[in-house]
Structures are given as structure tokens and as C-alpha cells.
Symmetry: C2
């Protein structure tokens, strides 16, 4: 295990300097907080992560969660995470005081979870999903349901889950068949199967509160007939005692990675005795669930960014300490009499490390930016401003979920490569990051689904207003960068890319206008890569402009080298990553139709 898994300076720099948490703290909701209290919180999270999360990371992989005697057995740190994390506010943090929360900004919650996840990505899901489930109850359920379930969930005594996926439906939620039959007491009898339920069962929660999508008997077909229910593992009887609610743990899926994080198959009502309690109105379940989805998708992107970050530090540490080979002399030869150099001095190793650095830090910037939009959307009072940040959030959210997952996985793979043969061995941690991060492109809507959301829904929002807003934000950064002579060339490149993107998007939207939606969306995934890469270039230019400003004005919180390294990283991203969009632009404007199913069999 490496000594370092996160660079707190970079996190704070992005949080305070580049993305200005202060602007969020200025909103009334956060009156009790200031930078210094936020710093104290983050430092305590770092201490906790050093002590209770990071040391158990490898062990949790080696001793995976598993099914045993009708339940799931997980590592003991799950209990520590739920109870101590509960006390520290990992579950309640963002909620209102009156709900038992700390009224923390999402930006701070993201930063805090990012540290925890970089330390141990197998544990944050247990608290995170409990938070998500509680959030649905707080926002949409009756006072009685709130009183019964929320306090125990926020304290970490009870867990929470989201039950969407069913074996026959997968990502196609319109096909779910879990059934709810109204009972005379106002509850519903629930029956069905749910799979891939993260944190679905374990020995460290006295109860688990499932938020279940189901179809009330007679409801319309498709997504319009889906309702949301609270379905606890144990329900309170008339005397308030917890009794079994006929929720069965059928199995625990064994996975390639995130093996400490259980993934259960649950059966509801096998004995006809499972009760569910409707959340809000009937047939609005999917709408409620999706109102919470932005938070869930920020969380996935954050996890990808966190694993990529931890992997970067592990590779960097190895590269600084491992002597091997020699530098090339001007003859093109090496002198064997000369001592070996550290591998960090080989250009190809530096290239891989800079790739890791730019992907991981850029991804962190992206999730913090989304969290800021989230905070502003939820706390601003001016209607136009509120709408503006809401639209910006909607537009970037599919990229926030996807870029850190997809490119994070590539950067971890590069990190493994830095270690050569050792990277493939279980004694070293890179192989675990490589396995763990692979699920992030699948969680909460696969890359394909996010890409269709980006191109098919978000770009078209309010006739393209979201895109127009994003373009304006990017242009502001370009203008800041243009102030500095040595950033001008990069600002210019990004400006050119914006113009190219506009042409690409017009071309694609042409198909939608003609009613050819299948064709419009057929290259949504390359489009995702295209727009995300441009967006990350913007994140890096913003960081570089901010760093340059600190160097020029002398208002420095960190060392000169720190700021210089951010500018260097931006240049790296513009040299090595941004040009990928050249090819993607060509792909997206190529008129050939090759991936739409036709009469001919193209797979032999």
C-alpha cells in the first residue's frame, strides 16, 4: 500500500480557490459554516479515513462479502463505517437541521466522500445509499414514515438501499414487474425479485430500509405505472417491536472488484407477508427516484475520480522510488557504468503519470463543479439564477457520471503499467484499483445510457439553453486565460474547439429534426467522449488561469511549484488529450450508417 492516497492540497485548492466554496457558503442556508469549520470537518474526515478506512482496503478485497445462512456477511469495518460515520455526519450531513442534518453544502459532502473513497471505495456505498434512501423518505414520504425510519438511518443504526433492477429488465425500468397490492390498512403487499442491490443485507445494521420500485395492481404499462415504496427488512408491529417483513436474501453476487461492498439478490414476499408503504403519490415512483439521481450520479463520478486519484498516488510513489534503466545519452546509447535512474525520469513513465494526474484531478474538478451547481440550484433564491444552475447541472451530470468512470479506468490501467509486472501482482494495490473502478461505467446508468441522456435529452433541454449556458461559462474561462500571454494559445485552442463542437452538434441534431432518432443517438457514446474531453479541457484551463493569477498576484496559499504543476498539467491535457476530439469530430460527422440493425447479418 502506498503512503499517500489523496493530495489534500489539490482538493482544497479546487474546493476553495478554483471553485470558490465561499460563493456557496454565502447562501443563508450555510450561515453557521465558514471555511475554517469546513477545514476542520475535512481534516477530521481525513484522520478517520487514515485510521478506519485505508488500512482495511486490501483486506476487504481479500475477504469479500458473501452469502451465509440466509444473510450476507461483510467485513467488520462496515459496522465502524455505519456507526462512526453516522456520528460524524456521513449520512445526515447535507440534510436540514430539522431533519437531523448538518446543512452541509454538497460541495463539502462531495469533498468529504472523495477522501473516504480514495481511502477505501468498498465502504462509502453503505453510508451513501443509506443517505440516498433517507433523502427519498425526507422529500416525498409522509411524516409517519419519516418519523419511523429517518432518525435510525441517519445515525447509521439502520441501512438503506435503492431497489430498481430486476432480473428480466436490467436497465429497462419500464419492464419491472414487482407487484404491490393495496391492503385495508393502507399498506401494500409486495412481491417480486430485485437484483444488484448494493448494501442489501449485512450483519451490522439492525434493520435495512429498502426503497423499492414496484407496480400497483392495475397501474398503466411502462414507466408511468411505477410507484415507490418503503419496504423495511423488519417492520414495526402495533407495539412498535420490529418483526420480520418477509424480505429474503437470496444471494450475494460475487464480483471482480469492490468485493467488500455487498451486491445482493433480494426476494420480497416469498411467503406473502411482505408489506410496503407508499412514498408520495401512486405512479410517481420513477419521477421521485430520478429527482434524486443527480446526487447519485455525482457520487459515481466522485468514486471514479477517487479511485483514479488513489491509483495515481500509488504509481507516483512507486515511480519515485524504483530505480531502473538509464537516461538516453545524445548518442542514443546508454552507459551501463552509470547508475540506474528512477523510472519517474523516463519520458514514457512521466507521460503515463501525467495522464493519471490530469484525469484524476480534472475529474475531481468536474465533480466539485457539479456539486457547486447543485448547491446553487438548491439555495439561490433568484428564479433565473436558480434555473441557470439547474440547467448547467442537468447538462453536465451525464459527463460527471461518465468521464471519471471511463477515463478513470484508463488512467488506473496506465498506473498499473507504471509498475510493470508488479502491477499485475496481488501484493501491489494497482490491480485492485483496476478491478474496482471497472464497475463505475455500469453503475447508475451505463455509459451508453448516460450518453443517450446527454445527447438525446440534455442538449435539447429548452431548445439548447443548457448548452448555451455552458458555452458562456467556458467563454468566461477563455477570457480569463487570454489575460496571460503564455495561456493565450490554449485559450485559443479551446475557443476553436467550441466552434467545432457547435458544428458537430448541429450536424447531429439534424437527424433528430428529421425524426431519425435512432440515427441521431447511434453515436451518442463517441459524442460523450467528445464533449467530455472538451469540458475537461475547460476545467484544466480554469485551473491554469487560477494558478497563473496566484503566481502573478503573489496571493499564494501553496508553493510556487504547486501552481506551476497545475499549469504544466493543463498543457499536458491540451497536448495529449484534447486532440482526441479531432478524430471524434470526424467520426460524428461521418455519414455512413454502420451500427443500426438492418436486414444483413454483420456478425458472422
Amino acid at each position: 500500500m502506498a503512503k499517500k492516497y489523496v493530495d489534500i492540497n489539490t482538493l482544497k485548492y479546487l474546493l476553495y480557490d478554483v471553485y470558490q466554496l465561499e460563493e456557496v457558503l454565502n447562501q443563508g442556508r450555510f450561515d453557521d459554516h465558514d471555511i475554517s469549520s469546513m477545514n476542520l470537518f475535512l481534516d477530521s474526515v481525513k484522520d478517520f479515513s487514515d485510521r478506519e478506512l485505508y488500512p482495511y482496503f486490501k483486506e476487504m478485497d481479500e475477504h469479500p462479502a458473501h452469502y451465509k445462512d440466509g444473510g450476507v456477511e461483510v467485513h467488520k469495518q462496515v459496522g465502524v463505517m455505519m456507526k462512526q460515520g453516522g456520528e460524524m455526519g456521513f449520512i445526515s450531513g447535507p440534510f436540514d437541521y430539522e431533519e437531523g442534518g448538518l446543512q452541509l453544502p454538497m460541495m463539502l459532502y462531495t469533498a468529504s466522500s472523495f477522501i473516504q473513497e480514495a481511502a477505501n471505495n468498498h465502504l462509502t456505498g453503505y453510508t451513501g445509499l443509506t443517505l440516498g434512501a433517507a433523502e427519498l423518505i425526507i422529500n416525498f414520504a409522509s411524516q409517519e414514515l419519516k418519523d419511523t425510519y429517518v432518525p435510525k438511518m441517519l445515525s447509521g443504526d439502520w441501512g438503506g438501499t435503492m431497489c430498481l433492477t430486476e432480473p428480466q429488465a436490467g436497465s429497462s425500468l419500464s419492464d419491472i414487474t414487482t407487484k404491490a397490492i393495496p391492503q385495508s390498512d393502507g399498506s401494500y403487499k409486495i412481491s417480486g425479485q430485485k437484483i444488484f442491490i448494493s448494501g442489501g443485507d449485512h450483519q451490522y445494521a439492525d434493520n435495512i430500509v429498502h426503497l423499492v420500485l414496484a407496480r400497483i395492481e392495475g397501474a398503466p404499462a411502462g414507466t408511468k405505472g411505477i410507484s415507490l415504496f418503503v419496504v423495511p427488512k423488519k417492520r414495526p408491529d402495533e407495539d412498535g417491536n420490529l418483526v420480520s417483513n418477509d424480505v429474503t436474501t437470496v444471494a450475494d453476487f460475487q464480483k471482480m472488484g469492490q468485493r467488500g461492498y455487498c451486491t445482493t439478490h433480494l426476494g420480497f414476499g416469498d411467503a406473502g407477508e411482505c408489506r410496503g408503504y407508499l412514498v408520495g403519490e401512486a405512479n410517481k415512483g420513477l419521477k421521485y427516484m430520478f429527482l434524486m439521481m443527480n446526487g447519485a450520479r455525482i457520487a459515481v463520478g466522485r468514486g471514479g475520480a477517487a479511485i483514479a486519484t488513489a491509483a495515481y498516488h500509488a504509481s507516483l510513489e512507486y515511480a519515485k522510488e524504483r530505480p531502473q534503466g538509464r537516461k538516453l545519452a545524445s548518442t542514443g546509447k546508454k552507459d551501463p557504468e552509470e547508475g540506474q535512474t528512477f523510472i519517474i525520469n523516463h519520458p514514457d513513465v512521466r507521460r503515463m503519470l501525467l495522464f493519471q494526474k490530469t484525469v484524476s484531478e480534472g475529474s475531481l474538478g468536474l465533480v466539485l463543479l457539479a456539486s457547486k451547481y447543485y448547491d446553487l440550484k438548491h439555495t439561490l433564491t433568484d428564479k433565473n439564477e436558480k434555473e441557470k444552475y439547474g440547467l448547467l447541472l442537468e447538462l453536465i451530470i451525464p459527463m460527471v457520471k461518465t468521464y471519471p468512470s471511463e477515463m478513470g479506468a484508463q488512467s488506473v490501467s496506465n498506473g498499473l503499467q507504471v509498475l510493470g509486472g508488479y502491477g499485475f501482482c496481488t501484493d501491489f494495490i494497482l490491480q485492485q484499483y483496476h478491478r474496482d473502478i471497472r464497475i463505475f461505467s455500469i453503475y447508475e446508468g451505463t455509459t451508453g445510457i448516460q450518453s443517450q441522456d446527454l445527447l438525446g435529452r440534455k442538449l435539447l433541454l429548452q431548445d439548447g439553453k443548457a448548452l448555451q449556458l455552458l458555452t458562456e461559462e467556458i467563454k468566461q474561462t477563455i477570457n480569463s486565460a487570454l489575460k496571460y500571454d503564455d495561456l493565450k494559445i490554449y485559450a485559443g485552442k479551446l475557443g476553436d474547439k467550441l466552434q467545432e463542437a457547435s458544428r458537430v452538434i448541429q450536424h447531429l441534431i439534424g437527424f433528430a429534426k428529421k425524426g431519425d432518432y435512432e440515427r441521431f443517438l447511434s453515436d451518442a457514446t463517441p459524442f460523450m467522449e467528445y464533449l467530455s474531453t472538451i469540458t475537461l479541457s475547460w476545467i484544466w484551463l480554469e485551473m491554469a488561469a487560477n494558478a497563473k493569477n496566484a503566481l502573478v498576484t503573489g496571493k499564494k496559499t501553496y508553493s510556487e511549484e504547486f501552481y506551476e504543476s497545475k499549469i504544466h498539467s493543463m498543457k499536458f491535457y491540451f497536448k495529449y488529450e484534447l486532440p482526441k476530439t479531432n478524430g471524434l469530430a470526424e467520426v460524428l460527422q461521418n455519414e455512413e450508417v454502420l451500427t443500426i440493425a438492418g436486414e444483413k447479418e454483420v456478425f458472422n
Copy 2:
């Protein structure tokens, strides 16, 4: 497990139709073979793989090779592979009759091993490395060593290994320190440690013959002082009885993938009793080893291609059988009353599958082509022709090793994505392919090292003659394709790329001419991706031109759809993959220096 792991038609099409094994069989060495005997051999290999390799593939992952009581315990199929594989010629195949071989062309040996590896990549290394070790003895060692070791190796009774890597040296072979001290009987006393020794010990070989690089006392520093030794685990005593040779199994590395293929740490001469026998002349060890390296690198590329192929068939099968979601109507909506469609009908899934298909079949084409060059180099009698194919082989070999490994890994990852959440679960096989293939970018010289070989050595061979020869070959394909109206546009694209490549290469070589070798090679890896992608486009254009010819002339061995699918795949590769070179060309011609170590610390 999927029903199919390889498409024998595609293999035979590439072998016989596109790359014309017949041209090789026409050489005198292969007089006893014809297409029909080759077909019989391949069919028997497929039967064997169906029966003895594929059914144990998952099991070998679940019960990995491991250290026990001073040795390594492996799965029982290792014994079957060595003994039955030995009988079938998997070890002796390519050798001369007089050495106990079958005089099989490398093309056929590659095709045969490809089938085995697609079935189970954990087993082919045991026979493959035994072949490699025997080849070194046959080519360079004394008759006595040959007589003592080779027959038992070819039969599979004894195993063979290559011992290069040492803990402190890694890829830097000039730093190896294993010592050899001359003894009065002509043997050497060997002492040192070797790591990452594939197939280094197991219970199914009566003896293991290690080919060890070591330094004779007093030898010059660096690579010029390295000699090659036969160091058996057990050596024959004066009476011909096998006695221990003081080779210790220190450990078996536990790995993320290829867990059935042992990777040992060996100690030589811990008790001062280890004897080695010099192969050929002193201080020429590295030269001998590298003369065998082309075969080893073809083998790695072949393995990458094989895993990518098996993963493709597994994903394809899943996509054809899994119903989920609906096709988009012209309204952009979906009708929930309509039945679900199979996921293969979703454009994004088809895109991923076509990516898998083009990478895996293209990679197979590349390794077969390299094998053909190998055969022609070794069997042609005309000096110029021999040299020509030798140069072509040298030039493409780093790409043959790298492209199937790097892009194969990406294609397997796409294959996992096709299965969604199931792809991440150990019940499905994609996650195993994902873990297994990751080592191929590291084996036998990492991607970074291959890339430096390509740009720094192979492009400069005989003043660029190899590159000129390759360009001529590509132009021939372009000319064939230009004959068909509907291939003209692709032929034109590849022609343009050749011109662009020429400019890119001139730009890079400019640095070498100025003596700035570090800069010349600093972007060798992006250059590898650049030239490989162009090379694969050539492979695909050749396949398409050949398919078109079959359709036009009616000389068809396979169905019309088969040929059409090859043309369709070529179009896919040209639309989605070739444009990546646009960005890479920009990267390679960008003058900024960002990855060469300087005074400033760029990693904070």
C-alpha cells in the same frame, strides 16, 4: 461460459485466403504438408481444445497455481497439456524432423496456438515456453546439451523456461547480476535470483530446464557481459540419474489474472550447488535470447488476439440472447406495450461488438501476417527476398506484440460492458478475460519498450528500408482495393494516411538527426498507437478487397454474408478507429516538451 470461443471460418479465411498459407507451403521445407493435412491438424487442435482446455478455463482461475511445500501446485490440466500437447506436436511442431519436430510453418503453429489460447490462455504458456527453451538449445547449444535435454522437452515430460528478470533490474537487462563461476569440468556454478518465471515449477514435469541469463565472473558491464546457460532443476549425475541441482522455488506470485499459469520466484545456488551449462559462446547470451524474441513476441500478440476473440464471442452470444429495452420510434419515444428487443439491436451495443470484432479479427490478421513473414524469412532461398521479409518482420514485430495486447484489452472491456452488471460478476466469463488480458501489455517487453523499439530501432533499420518495404506492401493493397468502386473511398483514405505518416515520421526523425534522442523517443508510445492503427486499417482493407474479389468472381468458400461482414467490418474500422490517428498526428507534431524530466517538480 459461452458456447463458442473462436470462429474457425474466420481463422481459415485469414490463413488460407487472405494471407495465403499456400505460398509458404510451396517452400521445400514443407513438402510433406498441404492444405488438407493442415486442416486436419487444426481440426484436431480444435477438438482437443473443446475437450481438454475450454472446460477447465474458469476452474483454473478459481483454483490458482500456488506455492506449497517448496514447490508450485498447478491444475491437473497442466499435466494433460504437457503430455497430450507434447504428443500432438504443440512443443515440437515448428522444429526440423531431425530435431524431432514436424516442420510445421509458423503460420500454422500460430493458428493452432491461437485456437488453444482462445479456449484457455492459462495453459498455452507451459508448452510455448518449453518450445522456446528447446529452440535456444537446438539453435545454439552443443550436441551433448541437445541430446540430454531436447527430446524430453519436446515430449512434454520436461518443462522449459526463460529466466531473464531479476528483482533489482526489471526490464533493464544490462543490470542483471546472476553470477556464473567456471568450474574445472566445463560447467559453471550459478548463483542468483530470478523473478516472474512463467511455468517455473509445477508437479507435472519430471524436470524443468531453465534457460538463464547470467554474468560470468569478470565479464564486461552491461549487456555485453551476459551469457546464456542451461540450468536444469535436476541435473543428470555421472550415471545419468537425475539429482537435485540446487534450484529453489522461493514463491509463486499471486496475480490478478492468468491465475492458472504459475509465475515463480526462483533461487539458484542457495546451497552453492547449482550447475549451469553454457549455451554457445560466452557473453553472447542476450544476442541468442533476442534471436528468439520475434517468436516470443508473435506469441504474446497471438495471446492478446485470442483472448479478445473469445471475449467477442461471449459478448456476441449474450447480446443475441438477452432481451432488454425497445427500439426508438420516429417520435423519439418507446412504446412500452411493444415486446422487448434483443440488445444486439441497440446501436450502441452493435458499436461495441463491431469494435470487438474489428480489433480481434484484425489482430489475428496481424499475427498471421507476421508469422508468414517469419516463414518466408526462414525458408526462402533468394537472398534479397529473405532480407525483405526479415526486414518486414522486424518492423512490424513491436506492433504485433503491442496492438493485440493494448487494443485487445480495450475490446474486452467493451465486451464486459455489453453485459452490463453481469459483466462484472464472477458468474460470467467476461471479467476473467478482462483480468487475464491485462498482463499482455507487460509480457516480453512492455508497451513502452516495444514503442521505443519500433520508433528508435526498427524505423531506422537500413536507413528506413523496412518502412519503405512496408509502405510498398500497403500500396499494393490500396491498388487492389481501387479496382472496386465501393472500396475506392477507403483506399483513398489509407493512401492519405500514408502521406501523413511520412510527414510525422520525418518530423520525429529530425530529433534523432539532431542527436536529441530523448526527445525523439519521448512520444514513442503515441507513435506506436498511430502506426499500429494505420497498419490495422491496411489489414482490414486487404481483408475487404479479398472478400470483394470472392463476391465478384463468385469463388466463394463461405457464405455471401461472411464476405459482406468482412467488408462491413472494414468500413467500421475506417469510420471509428482510423480517425484516432488525426489526433495522434497532432500530438506527434506538437513541439511542446512536457514529459522530459527537468529541474521543476511537475508532480506535486
